[in-house]
Symmetry: C2
Subunit: 334 residues, 2 copies
Amino acid sequence: MKIALDAMGGDHGPMVTVKGAVAAVKEYGVHMILTGDEGLITEELKKYDFPKEQIEIVHCTEAIENEDKPVAAIRKKKDSSMVVALNLVKDGKADAVISAGNTGALLAGGLFVLGRIPGIDRPALAPPYPTAKGISILIDGGANADCKPRNFLEFGLMGSIYAERVLNKEKPRVCLVNIGTEEGKGNDTTKEAYKALKKAPYNFIGNVEARDIPAGYADVIVCDGFTGNVVLKLTEGVAGVIFKVLKDEFTSSTVRKLGAMLLKSGLKGFKKRFDYTEYGGAPFLGVQGILIKAHGSSNDNAVKNAIRQAKILIENKVIQEIANEIESLGDDTN
Amino acid sequence: MKIALDAMGGDHGPMVTVKGAVAAVKEYGVHMILTGDEGLITEELKKYDFPKEQIEIVHCTEAIENEDKPVAAIRKKKDSSMVVALNLVKDGKADAVISAGNTGALLAGGLFVLGRIPGIDRPALAPPYPTAKGISILIDGGANADCKPRNFLEFGLMGSIYAERVLNKEKPRVCLVNIGTEEGKGNDTTKEAYKALKKAPYNFIGNVEARDIPAGYADVIVCDGFTGNVVLKLTEGVAGVIFKVLKDEFTSSTVRKLGAMLLKSGLKGFKKRFDYTEYGGAPFLGVQGILIKAHGSSNDNAVKNAIRQAKILIENKVIQEIANEIESLGDDTN
């Protein structure tokens, strides 16, 4: 099993990607192919002790920056660490590709270089969403701002397969994010989406109101990319403000500081439950190959966990399963 | 100043509405008109000591239930506490109306009984949104699931007037909820909305990503009713889960319980900052009169604060100001 990693991607570049790759090699026994500046990568690799034959470097002369225009960057920077990593999968030299780089470019690269699975109209980002009951998956996390009913139907299928094979959920509960629980509620888009999902060959159980998402009501949270982006970022924003205000309150007097000290392990356990670095990245489902977008600010632990996630996707043949099951949706491409 | 209150509305009915009204009469010196079952209301009033001439009862034989179909309920239940309260404003016998009852019915009632301010295409719900920097206002909170550019333009105007006159913000920062900060980002709806808002005669400062809403980046958070509903309910859901998990962690051992005890006042101060009962209800802006939707689960404190809010809306002539300023948007009703 070979996994390609865009070593230049992310806010911290090789310093973090290489460390994560080394940890994954030791822990999971995977074979890594690091794409990027050979000098920088070699320099980082020198810091660690690991089975040399399991990490390979493919030197690239370019890197895609966060400021680059996605489509133009993919088209022009042919020797960038991201495009080269994508090509490794396309050419059958790697079984999966991971990048923490420019999201737009990576999605464009997934579409242009890997291409779509036949029958899939719109591939979608499927980030993990931590809930009170464990990890759910949200799809689409931001790849398609405007969606047709057919797209929702595909999101539900891909999410369901992912939840079953990667998150080990039995008959995953697939829900549509909507305003109201009954059929007939919603805006024009979700009303139509509901009609399509009702006939889905997987476990669609109806609408989920945003209030019930964090409680873990749905295993697969289906929505368009606009709503998905709002849900993900608002969750992050609300949690961030609550932690900040709690910290202020908990350090505002000596007595409170003492109280906070006694609660330290509790606070840690709490933070860990909502720590995205534990859950890997967001797979871009629907393209011809395993492609994982890791968070731009990923640390080495997040990179390591994205590699573990790629391994599970490979072992459980998620792409093949999507390709097999897509026919069950029928031919209706509206 | 007379304020009509639907005494039968909300999960707890007269038990809570009457208590809130009595507190408001004593604290703010307002005159209240309570609509509903005279027997029940009188029974509740007997529990309190207050200036009798300041609370009036208008007996009604019907009440609109949460399960009632909104439009049908307003049309058929002419002698319901909600419709009677709305008519008091329409007939000039009250300066504002408050209800914690069926939201859909109240919005329909606002449109049918009070009617729209000339020039306003779509009235909108404008609930308070507590942020790290204080209270912002979100508009539309759920009245209009699908919106045209003109609607966003109106929401921004009404929200801006409200933020200035009720929340005392100077040159309120009006933002469009979107996925990305730059112009040109978004789905079809928000791209068009941005173009309209760019020319607005108030302080439109651009897009706000959902992540930055809780931090208080925007004073007036503009979005369609679908997105608004998702933002409000998800905020509630995320905060609820975090408190629940914290509580579990903080009570899982004796040492932690001791720590939590020392932090009790801190936790209380924290909860108060995010307690909706402190901030009143959601005004339905754009109708011909002051109409406030209080939370269905309002306690007496929430009712009292909604009455205070109505008083501020009356004193600061918010409706007149909207009517005056609507012309500044021009005639474009697309």
